[in-house]
Symmetry: D2
Subunit: 452 residues, 4 copies
């Protein structure tokens, strides 16, 4: 019973912050339908266990369609009792009563408002994770392609925003790939193992279901395709927190890649650009990396939302006096914003234009200084580590001060010129870069196979 | 030009988390109208300075009405350039062009997208703070009334959720009052002094306005009734952070009071109850403090949102590559959720039913143990501080263990029985409670006078 | 090579916020030793692969003892290069040089500062998780005992801090148990699967190790007993974020239990108390639930720290320009504060005194109102759901208003008095509580077996 | 009584994350001394009001010196009661008793633990803000100098990390200046107006001081040089939150400037560099902007800490059951980390080397594309806004595609070549940049005068 589809209306900032398909799974309509799906599943579960007739369950389920209810009115009526399930159950019961008064007696049977709302939250999450995982997987595919294609594309490695040693763009993409695959794997595990139904009744005993409570829970979980919990988790919010943690981690991985792209696309760096960069209202020449920027923007909302959800875990006794209610919007916002971030990153990487010549040109900007580590190491066997380090530091400083090539200065310190030239060739100083790419691609392949 | 009115449609959780009048000031429609107000004000400012004709400004302004535009479409079209102002300016220009091609040349003149969006954000904040301050002020009035009416209403002071010394409910309410007044004062100062227009053009120089940029900024601020900044603050987000900090502090003050009410309303405590407590879908006897719970729920979203806004301050160079965009939704959400929290607290306190008899009964629950500090102090003059402390500790332990009244046990330690009785009378051990209430009420009066 | 022991000096707030054994694993000394362990392991790994002699590795390792270095001086010297590894390597190299100049050439070979610091962070985390998991497990054992012992101990279920339906204290404890077990399981998985060595050299290629980089990484991981990564993760902070998320979730679970205890220990509720409650400087009668309060206090620091770590994930290119450095203290603080929270909770639950009589007395406070759901359900078969709900609501209101017992009022509505009495007996309205306890205990048993 | 000096020992990460003079004001020793200062002030206040003899107060004060107490032991003994004031008062009383048993009776008179700890927190904050404000002011001075000196230093304005319009480095520095001045002003206001003593006794009534409570509070505030509150603020944490908000805002302003410097110092940009850039353990050529990176690193810890402090505001009744204790370390960490961030920024800007030639060279990189807005505006008067925009967009695209200078392409579209040349001169297209610098400097001057 997992799919849902409820294209909500567009918001003013959606093109930037609610991109992709997750958006339609986390709107008000999707939540309300998920609540109704929970009520329908509860009726079916009751029928499975023999508490109510199958026809009655079918009648109840027939009224569990979002277009039968006035969402705005339910929202307003939520004020009196503190949640929208109370007016929803009233409306659903009244509707079923019209069709079959006997069936109406079984609406919401055994459940408390939180059972329906928590189960709906888990359904919403499950449904939102589908397009999010699809976007993550597609983005990982792109990263895998870039890693393989650009194995030999030399570029400067950069630490603290300064040139360090040569790397390849393939290795950069392989790093992105591992992050994307790891995060997709964790998110997928959380979806399969941790998204569970909620059913406990008013105080978590399922008292009103007499002895069949446990059976009903199992059937309810089965109908909805969600996990079955050991016991009701009304005030054990570990599941919500694990979901939040996984989403927050995805967001961080996306923000890292998006920022890398924005930095590589800087006017002075220009090593990559987006396929369809953004314009500006006043500067027609701008080539803004809009998808990368949108990915970063959406991803950066996540840490605060995660902290709100973690902070709301301390829920009192058998139902929280506020902290439970605190969760609703941040959970929705977190799913939505991470979904948007991933969708933006997919667009960004999917059409990334890589300028290998510019990467090489940038690598050569410093005239070989990126290879001082190598030279230091080569000298270490002759001079010892500290002396070698100092020698190269001096040569490097002189080269910078005088503007003379580093190779020239180094050659004067007694190393044969051809050795210097060989030492300063970046292509031969890439260490295990290629092996690392292979390992990342192999891990990716095994992930993909596992999924299929 | 500050009022705006745009009742947005209701959401599923609005009755709990979007209560009161702030909600209508922070929706998409309100934002879009604020952007249009900024464009109109820019045209008027240009006319004021003589850059464009007054008629042209009037023509532009005539098209700055939200119902002329398709908000959803603008939101979708925001994707290409990374913000909704780009398509809005295009649509506005086209509309004005139909009416007066000359006027169309002056649409958005001198401005960049961020000028319009930031100014709109400040306008939205200004307008949202009006009902929020009204709710805060009304809540403070209620607290002042409670403080005065309940000067003599004895109740247990509670520390770490344990009875401590006797206090009065009036003192409790006076503490709430000071918090509410202080926060309203700060919020009001931020509104008046720190909400400023934004106008800098593409890189913050107002280059396209030639020499009249500074004059235009002054006129623009004047039209909108917002503060005039020293220079464009595109990437100096201090103003946004100050607003966020003030709102987060309000939220904390509200959460404290809401939690106090929920605790005082516990079944076992029952010292207060809401006028219209909430029911439950399954437990008709419930008297849930729904307004207090809703206040806490909404307020607890604030710290995470504040941290997101503070974290987004590190915006690159002349316009942030993502962090600026990150601000939009958290700022809106923060205004909205704090507005809802304050509105819920107003409902909660406005109809609070105080049970003075129950307060007194709870005070007597421990048979005088709350006054051990007083007894200790009285004994200190005879025995010294440490010995007195130990004596009373022993008497207290014996009283608890034996179930005998503390007074009886104490009388055996050599203090005259009538002195013990006098020492154990809570009404005569309230220290400066009354003076503190007077000070709080006096401070409140001076605040109210200042406002009017 | 995992154990470490470095009792750091006590701080002013340690008795409240740095309780238990985790504290000694996260102090400066523990970090410095972990860095040295990483250097030693790197030497051994080099020997394993044949890059350096075994004797040389042994010589280097002999100098990797924390008491040989001046921690404060290293900290000060960290300023110049931006991290403490740079002066440490200098000092270590100098020390080794004295003993064996050849060995000195191999100190820190192939590594960059971040390799050592990140590996140290993972070691610190690994070592800190040992006592934390021990405390969690012991706390879970206590919860299991309480769940079993108090299967029949009736108490009021409480929702929104109001009495709801009857439950047992055993069910309450079973809920705590599941939360503790789930969190311990996740934390244990993160420790075993996600704490990995870091080794990539200056730009993540291990360029200076020529072709043997991958082999060295494997040996390095083997020596340290940490996981081997697919490739260097210098700017893929997924591992750190997963650890943070797991810790933040533990904190939330602890805060929930600690808050429950503090609420149950309230003067008016008095259902539990700590074995050794806290006193007060001025109120000798106080029985403060100090361990619960300390647990909550420490746990509440976690969400903000997690958000900082998630926010720091967007690290630029091959090494972050600030965000990497941002991680160090929050990671340490998070480990330390969650460790303290768990240790405090262990103390709290370990000596928890449960007052079953008081629980029953509180349950009877409302004269049967907790069972209105049951009565409603019983009436539903006769009257239909809505009518039954309304009838009971009216009876409940009348009972409250008149002060007459609910049973008496209900009997007048036509239900036989003995049926009313049976319906109002809480012990026969516990639904699946016992089964849920059994399930929680069974799950706990299987967890314990798995661990051993 | 405000100065304190207690150089604490150095930590492993202090050179990066605890730079400057704030560090010594927030360590354990500083906190303990502040607690003792509060006890001494309380004694003097009692003497002022006539509750105790002046000699007795002097005797008490004589023992209020941090070196008389074992900090580690106090920390350990804090466990029993939940805070370190309880053992401290016991130790202080015992010490005074030895000297004068009568005086010992007056130690801690009227106060509760929270009075001393909260007052100490305010003192610690006051003392920490002194060096922080000194660093902020010095940094602002540097920014003012840079703004003035570099009025004519042309550089590219950058939006979304892409070149936008020309600006001057002076304008950039003026923007930093306004942010620094505004933040210093707010911080200074919070220090003067909002840091207040705490004195309420066990439940906030000052019951044990009988009628003289209010007088004692006034004298206590006077002795300490802190503000006098309207009433005790034990559970109204507005003051702490306001301080936190101000510090978080400072952090954001610092992070923005630090990030700007790190970006401007990138190898490919190279417009600025630090006077003493950092080296690397393996790459001797590195010129890492270590102070900027350290500033960013420390500043980024702030948002999470602020959210923890805001989240801890909901403190129960008359003393929080955990949330009060939660505050202690985050407040200290926030003061410390913001202090370090400001100190690092002071170092960073103080020695900033500005390369005006490189700025100009970068400005010319795009061959005039930065001035397309200007050209568009010039064409707008002939063609209308949309047509002008499209024309320039096309010319720009052709220039990029063909590699021909923009001026050449534009000249072909009918604009006279000399007009094109004039339009493409950046120095004549700076709008109000100079006026904005003047305004920022004037505002700075008035701030400085106000302070002195």
């Amino acid at each position: 019973m997992k799919p849902s589809s409820s294209p909500s209306e567009g918001g003013l900032f959606d093109g930037v912050l609610a991109r992709g398909a997750v958006r339609d799974q986390v709107g008000d309509t999707a939540w309300l339908q998920a609540m109704l799906d929970a009520e329908a599943a509860l009726a079916y579960a009751g029928a499975e266990v023999g508490l109510i007739g199958r026809d009655q369950a079918g009648t109840i389920a027939a009224f569990c369609r979002v277009d039968r209810y006035d969402l705005g009115e339910l929202g307003r009526d939520a004020a009196a009792g503190g949640n929208p399930v109370i007016p929803l159950v009233r409306a659903l019961t009244a509707a079923v009563y019209e069709a079959d008064p006997e069936a109406a007696k079984h609406v919401h049977r055994g459940a408390t408002s939180q059972d329906i709302l928590d189960t709906a939250a888990m359904l919403v999450a499950y449904r939102a994770l589908e397009p999010m995982l699809a976007d993550l997987t597609a983005t990982a595919e792109t990263a895998a392609r870039l890693a393989d294609e650009h194995r030999a594309t030399l570029m400067p490695g950069r630490t603290l925003l300064q040139h360090a040693l040569p790397i390849t763009f393939g290795l950069t993409a392989a790093g992105w790939l591992v992050a994307l695959d790891t995060n997709a794997g964790r998110l997928s595990d959380v979806r399969d193992d941790r998204l569970a139904v909620q059913l406990g009744g008013a105080s978590g005993t399922l008292a009103s279901l007499a002895g069949s409570g446990v059976e009903v829970v199992a059937a309810y979980a089965d109908v909805l395709g969600l996990a079955e919990p050991v016991l009701p988790w009304h005030t054990d919010r570990t599941r919500v927190a694990e979901l939040a943690g996984a989403l927050g981690t995805v967001a961080g991985a996306v923000a890292k890649i998006g920022r890398d792209v924005a930095l590589l696309a800087q006017t002075e760096v220009a090593e990559v650009r987006e396929e369809a960069p953004g314009g500006s209202s006043t500067m027609p020449h701008k080539r803004n990396p809009v998808s990368a920027v949108s990915a970063v923007a959406a991803a950066q909302r996540a840490p605060g939302l995660v902290s709100t959800l973690l902070g709301a875990m301390a829920q009192e006794h058998q139902r929280g006096a506020g902290s439970w209610h605190t969760e609703w919007l941040p959970l929705r916002d977190l799913l939505g914003t991470v979904g948007s971030a991933v969708a933006s990153l997919r667009d960004c990487l999917g059409g990334l234009v890589v300028d290998a010549d510019r990467m090489r040109a940038n690598l050569d900007l410093t005239g070989g200084h990126l290879l001082t580590e190598r030279v230091t190491t080569a000298l270490t066997t002759r001079l010892g580590r500290l002396a070698a380090h100092d020698t190269v530091t001096r040569a490097s400083a002189e080269s910078v001060a005088s503007g003379r090539p580093l190779g020239e200065v180094l050659a004067e310190s007694g190393i044969p010129a051809d050795e210097v030239a060989a030492l300063l060739d970046p292509a031969s100083y890439l260490g295990s870069a290629d092996e690392f790419i292979d390992r990342a691609l192999a891990a990716h392949e095994s992930t993909v196979e596992e999924e299929s």
